[in-house]
């Protein structure tokens, strides 16, 4: 029981936000949950949300890992997705005939490039100790030109059945392919976290790098690994995005998605300073963002105003999730109870010790 409560708590925020948005949508019109079948596939608000959020979910998962181990964020994921997908497109268009095999080869090549990008960003962060956001700023700035060059200074069009099936629906399948791909991806990540110590290592490095090292963990390797995994995520996201779009527009593909990916991690209840993480939270966070975007459209907010409204919503959300408010709420909940546990007392005593010099340092600063 206690475990359920403990793990459930950090999901409280994203889930309640999601619930709030759904309620708003239902108030707007009860047809929110309506589904229809067009050409043998399922459409409606819910499938559309799952479809639209695919790339964001994939990137949010990778971003969660990087955030945990490095205590920073990668702002080049959208750009990296544009590069990996341009490689994918180049291989497809270079082949005589597009078959499932060429698509598979192109996808693998995209993943390989993603790993390279991850290794580049990761080594800047892990070896040269560059702040992650600054390290990834390099690719963020330069990446779209690289993708443009790989495209041969064009916006190549993927006019074939196979890729449009990946971006749309497979014949005889009820559900749109990107939704299925995302599900498979989530399953693979779950498997990875189950069969390796990635979570323990990344969290240990994120919480206390020195202690992690003294326990035999190589912090450089762990950070590199998480960045390389994020690289694979960008390849998957780029693959889905370009198949959806049907053409590779190196300027607009996955544009601004990096900020949403970071936001998804934050909404998921993860500390952006690294350490403990919940992939589930980030995934829910990603879907929440998609729901939010679509809710604003459904409420017929002006297209020009959408971003501003979204921003206000996010500010409120982040303030609610901030340690200050959370601490306040926790105190409000705790106060009525008289007998606190010994563990809590010990923690508070120790905090007293810690905060005294901190307060002092604050006062010393000119």
């Amino acid at each position: 029981m206690r475990r359920v409560k403990a793990t459930g708590f950090h999901l409280l925020l994203p889930l309640s936000v999601l619930a709030f948005l759904v309620v708003v949508n239902v108030i707007k019109g009860v047809d929110y949950f309506s589904l229809s079948v067009i050409n043998g596939a399922l459409y409606g608000n819910i499938p559309n949300i799952l479809f639209g959020a695919s790339e964001l979910v994939v990137l949010a998962v990778g971003m969660t890992l990087v955030t945990s181990s490095s205590g920073g964020q990668d702002i080049s994921v959208g750009v990296a997705g544009a590069i990996t997908s341009s490689v994918f497109v180049a291989i497809l268009l270079g082949a005589d005939k597009i078959t499932w095999w060429t698509i598979f080869a192109g996808f693998l090549a995209g993943c390989a490039v993603g790993v390279l990008i991850g290794a580049f960003n990761g080594s800047l962060v892990a070896v040269f100790k560059v702040q992650p956001m600054v390290a990834t700023l390099i690719l963020f700035t330069a990446g779209r030109s690289v993708a443009f060059l790989i495209d041969g200074k064009l916006s190549p069009i993927l006019a074939n059945d196979l890729t449009s099936r990946i971006g749309g629906v497979m014949p005889g399948v009820f559900i749109q392919t990107p939704i299925l791909l995302t599900a498979v991806f989530i399953a693979l990540i779950a498997l990875l976290l189950k069969t390796t110590n990635l979570k323990l290592y990344a969290q240990s490095v994120g919480v206390n790098e020195k202690a992690a090292r003294l326990n035999g963990i190589d912090p450089v390797a762990v950070k590199l690994l998480t960045f390389m995994l994020l690289g694979v995520c960008t390849a998957v996201a780029g693959f889905i995005a370009v198949c959806k779009a049907g053409r590779h527009d190196s300027v607009n593909l996955l544009k601004y998605i990096e900020m949403d990916a970071i936001l998804a991690v934050a909404i998921g209840g993860n500390a952006l300073g690294g350490g403990k993480f919940s992939v589930t939270g980030s995934i829910i966070g990603a879907y929440t963002i998609e729901v939010l975007n679509r809710t604003l459209l459904r409420l017929e907010v002006d297209t020009e105003a959408i971003k501003a409204v979204k921003a206000v919503f996010i500010i409120v959300l982040m303030v609610l999730a901030s340690p200050v408010v959370r601490g306040y709420l926790a105190n409000a909940v705790r106060r009525p109870r008289s007998g606190t546990q010994t563990g809590t007392v010990a923690e508070e005593a120790e905090d007293g010790w810690v905060s005294a010099p901190d307060a002092f340092r604050g006062r010393e600063a000119p």
């Binding site: 110590n197 919480v207 035999g216 563990g343 120790e350 006062r363 000119p366």
Partner: protein, 505 residues
């Protein structure tokens, strides 16, 4: 004589939740003297200084400066009253110039007269013989000069009292000499200087008077010339000279034969230990003795490769091996409980369970995670074995008390079943009951054939558990004391400088 007194503190008490940091402490500072404040870690030196400068409010007692009772509410107020403080870590801005650092935050108006500021700075620097230009960027100065500039900033305006908290800990010998010259200069101007350090030799080089604290209480005030170094150590440790401390309840372990479990020759590390030789046999308990900062922690860190190893050769069970990083040491059966529990030991936000299995899990490998059931079983086993008080295995370790955190780290290493276990201050800051439990555990492990290196600031504790002591002073090994005839006095003599071996290169 009374007019000479500049600062007087009487009956100062200060308590923190659960800890009595100061109890009825007196301190007197006279004009133009260097007054050393001595005591072991946790004796209350820092707290006394922070009460002095208004960082902490005192619970009881009276502070007078030049006969007037004062009550500082902030360091700023103390500063304005002529009490300057320089801390161990330099708290200046490295990317500003020397002059800016000296005067920043002092101007009453929003405007700065750069020429006048630089001029004032030049005069002050020259008068104190500090080799720096006002327009130079601070980060270009050596640490010692930066330290001096911090002092110059503190003494600038009619400073009557200067407090130096461990000013020499990051300086080399030459820099220390220059700092001392500056201190003597200020002293001759009538400034009263409070000097906190744990380097014994330095105390005698500059100090006129010494006040010793222990466990938050005043041991006494002495003239430096009439307090021999050995007696100072005795007072800091709380043992009167000639007090041959009681029973030693351990089996003699002298005649160890065979190949040592661990043997190092000429081992040195980037943390600055002079090359040393070391060996330990199966089932032996030995220890590094010495004051804090003597290099005892750095030595064991070199064994475990916690710091970058810069030289020396290592044999484990007679086989020549290379230990370049902790994982290699772990795979050779070495465990290490670090001195800094918070910084190096616990993974604060992770659960007790994860903290217990961490080392063994890492040794197992990345692709072989323990099942949840297995991890729970390990955690439960050691929580029971070491009597760790935790609400559940899933509780974050940071929610536990210090003693229980330490037991979790101990459990982490016991779980790996090490051949050789290094315990650096395993009993620091934990209650007496747990201390005894840990000592018993060490002896039990030794009986089972585990070799243990045990470090403690309490010599008595080391005498009880160790059969051999390696004594360190100023980052080099100055003596090795074997089992028979080992008394507190012997150890203190060697620590204080009645050295068996001279300490040089």
């Amino acid at each position: 004589m009374h007019t000479q007194i500049v600062l007087e503190m009487r009956g100062i008490s200060k308590a923190f939740p659960g800890v009595r940091a100061l109890h009825n402490v007196d301190f007197t500072l006279r004009r133009g003297e260097v007054h050393a404040l001595m005591g072991e870690n946790g004796a209350g030196k820092s707290t006394l200084i922070k009460v002095m400068t208004g960082v902490y409010a005192k619970d009881a007692g009276r502070i007078t400066i030049d006969g007037a009772t004062i009550h500082f509410r902030s360091p700023q107020e103390a500063q304005n009253f002529g009490v300057g403080t320089v801390y161990q870590e330099i708290s200046l801005c490295p990317n500003l110039t020397v002059a800016e650092n000296m005067f920043i935050g002092r101007g009453r108006r929003g405007f700065v007269n750069w020429n006048r500021m630089n001029g004032d700075a030049t005069r002050l620097l020259e008068s104190l013989c500090i080799p720096a230009r006002p327009t130079q960027e601070l980060s270009n100065c050596s640490l010692a000069v930066q330290q001096m500039i911090a002092i110059a900033r503190a003494v600038d305006m009619e400073c009557k009292i200067l407090i130096l908290d461990e000013p020499t800990s990051s300086l080399d010998e030459d820099e220390v000499r220059r700092l001392f010259a500056l201190m003597r200069e200020l002293k001759s101007r009538g400034v009263g200087i409070v000097f906190v350090t744990h380097f014994l030799d330095q105390v005698y080089e500059v100090s006129d008077r010494i006040t010793v604290l222990r466990d938050g209480e005043l041991v006494g005030e002495y003239a430096a010339s009439s307090l021999p170094q050995i007696e100072l150590v005795a007072k800091m440790l709380g043992k009167e000279l000639g007090d041959v401390a009681g029973i030693r309840n351990r089996r003699p372990r002298t005649a160890e034969s065979g190949i040592p479990v661990f043997e190092a020759t000429g081992l040195s590390s980037a943390a600055g230990v002079r090359p040393f030789d070391f060996s330990i046999h199966k089932g032996e308990v030995n220890g590094f003795a010495g004051l804090l900062g003597s290099g005892r922690s750095e030595s064991v860190r070199a064994i475990y490769a916690a710091d970058k190893v810069t030289g020396g050769s290592v044999r484990v069970n007679g086989k020549s091996v290379r230990i370049g990083k902790p994982i290699q040491a772990m795979k050779l059966g070495i465990g290490y409980l670090p001195e800094d529990r918070k910084g190096d030991g616990i993974i604060a936000e992770l659960s007790v369970r994860e903290n217990i299995i961490l080392a063994l899990q890492v040794m197992e490998g990345f692709f072989k995670p323990f099942s949840r059931k297995q991890a729970e079983a390990f955690a439960d086993e050691y929580i029971r074995l070491l009597n760790i008080k935790t609400p559940s295995t899933g509780t974050p370790i940071k929610a536990l008390s210090g003693g229980n955190q330490q037991k979790v780290i101990l459990a982490r290493w016991l779980l790996t079943h090490p051949e050789y276990l290094i315990l650096d201050e395993p009993t620091r800051g934990i209650d007496v009951g747990t201390k005894v439990e840990i000592q018993k555990l060490v002896l039990k492990l030794a009986e089972e054939g585990v070799s243990v290196t045990f470090i403690s600031s309490e010599i008595e504790e080391m005498l009880r558990t160790c059969s051999r002591l390696i004594v360190m002073r100023d980052r080099c090994v100055v003596g090795e004391l074997e089992d028979s005839g080992l008394t507190q006095n012997d150890v203190m003599h060697v620590i204080a400088g009645g050295a068996e071996k001279p300490c040089d290169e």
